[in-house]
Symmetry: C2
Subunit: 418 residues, 2 copies
Amino acid sequence: MAIFVQKFGGTSVGDPARIARCAARIKERRDEGHGVVVVVSAMGHTTDELIELAGRVSRSPSRRELDMLMATGEQVSVALVAMALESIGVPATSLTGGQVGITTDGAYGRARVTGVSRARLDEELGLGRVPVVCGFQGVSGSGEITTLGRGGSDTTAVALASALKVAETGGVCEIFTDVDGVYTADPRLVPTASRLTRISYEEMLELALLGAQVMHPRAVLFGERYGVPIHVRHSQRPDEGTLITRETPEMEDVMVVGAALKPDLGRVSLRRIPNNPGVQGMLFEAVAKAGILVDDIVQTEFGEIASISFTVDHGDLADVKIAASQVLDRVGTGELAIEIGLAKISVVGTGMKSHVGVASRMFTALGAAGIAIHNITTSEIKISCIVSKQDAQRALGIAHEAFGLDRLGALQAASTAG
Amino acid sequence: MAIFVQKFGGTSVGDPARIARCAARIKERRDEGHGVVVVVSAMGHTTDELIELAGRVSRSPSRRELDMLMATGEQVSVALVAMALESIGVPATSLTGGQVGITTDGAYGRARVTGVSRARLDEELGLGRVPVVCGFQGVSGSGEITTLGRGGSDTTAVALASALKVAETGGVCEIFTDVDGVYTADPRLVPTASRLTRISYEEMLELALLGAQVMHPRAVLFGERYGVPIHVRHSQRPDEGTLITRETPEMEDVMVVGAALKPDLGRVSLRRIPNNPGVQGMLFEAVAKAGILVDDIVQTEFGEIASISFTVDHGDLADVKIAASQVLDRVGTGELAIEIGLAKISVVGTGMKSHVGVASRMFTALGAAGIAIHNITTSEIKISCIVSKQDAQRALGIAHEAFGLDRLGALQAASTAG
């Protein structure tokens, strides 16, 4: 018996009709003779409603009490999904995170999973039942209810799939969502984007960090660490979706699997500052204290003088300006420059590790289209260029075309079929 | 340090403003230097909304899944009440039934409490915190979430008060509700009804069974069994309320403490049936199978012929008629008569045990007012008369006056003060 973990997000269980469709999907898999473990999120806007309610009772509710409150959202969902399953003849048992034995480090609101017991799941599966588990939650060592923070339900699903060793049984972790898989680019921005049949954890992680909202980076990392095959599929449609797996030798044949766009960036530059190891620390500590996430950092030096540039979300610019000015005051010298209206386009691919010429192909294509590149940053499997915001969507399309991404989905599908 | 258990019902925590008033009430008691343990119900109409949601997902949801769903209602309340307490400087910790260690027999939807651990409560109280506990729920021996059924939150409060031995510490179990105590009769029916300062468990139990909705009979029984003093008070007003305690010798001085009216009854009579031990069993088994609660039963016999009459709620008459007709068919002889438009008035008092003349005083008063009595049933501390529905409210007032109940509240208050 293969074991499948099926995770349904908040939109997929948003109302009784959608819950019925999820139940049908679960029954289908079970009717094939497989064991199925289900993970669900809170229905639609439940979490927002609970947060609003908390705000009306307390201006600064404690994280512990927020977790106690939030955890009810998933508990409602699991009970309803179990009822829906039983109403179509599938024996099911809803379970809280605590009942399954998902233990966490006790950090309220952003707990990390420290252990998963498979005893209760095995017991239910042994009885021919479908365990329906609350995503997003666990209990600390002392029995306190904790939530896992953003992407928590994906993480729950991957953690259960890992504990159940689904790969060894021939199963996978299926993430049902409101898109039908991972695309070579956001289809709303690049109409020719093609759906990938497969992608490596590493590539998916980079794309997720660049803003692809299909899966949360944390769950992808968890999947990579424990080798859990993750299948991203549409919850209301039968499409084949995208399989996220370990890198295989043939994946290296493809230089680039995806392109992404991060819009509305601003660039902050501190020029002519002392080239002094303490300055960077002082600067980014001040920025971090202001609660601002820094995108890419570029530093150039000329002897005793240096320049540091970094990009941030456009909305953070005002705060960054204050923090950076204070640092310059303390340093006593240098200039602050702020540029707005920027964006970042990136291409991602495991194949970059073994192929040369990826960067040059990208720069050439953008150059031929007359698009100016303001900054370049690279990682082992990623190349990013800062461009003007008004050029960004066109630049994304050009990069997408330069690496033949519009045909990649079909190529992958053909090689899988053959 | 005296320990008080304070229970707030669904209406009392119905919205953020009411929750803030409950928090203020809790703080008041704590500021007196006492330890406080809070029990809360689900907010306002939450339970009805959850049941409606379940109905949209499944026509016959399992009791286990309904309990899983229902239990979220109280969990939302405890988190919000704990947040409200912390926002006014009272350290608080919300706890589910399972976290407190309220164990039950596992009968979903109507579980009985089998044990209460005081370890976690003592720990929180020891830290100077207010534990805020989910009413209405517990966990079975195998860790399943179970609800206690109607009156469950009152039962939780009394059970915790019993485990904490509040009486020995000088505290009580305070039940905060939307009335300011127990009255000698429903003030909407008898404007001169007076509020009792104290009442015995036994009397309260009879009144609760007769329809007084102040407290659920089950919680009163629990309080009696474990000797927990129960103080019924208004949640939004400072009134003194009513204390439910063990019978004291002085209570016997008062013949009657309360009068109650059960409206809209019908009477079913099976006349001229064989006076045969099997017939009653056959009849009431058939009635029970139809899910009908029987009120009072009166049987009269004339040698080999007997008559059985019993009262039921008016709404159940149609079903009873079918069940009783089938029994008559099987018996082969007898007549079925149905009377409608009846009601029952009762007077209750521990003092009846030691006073004679209670029944005659009631019958005389009703007779003098020209009210016909259709049936009489009595227990050790209760006398009930079936009267016409149109006479019922007047009869209640007459009985209330005949036993001086309009002055009883003031008398009790004076004797307590003196």
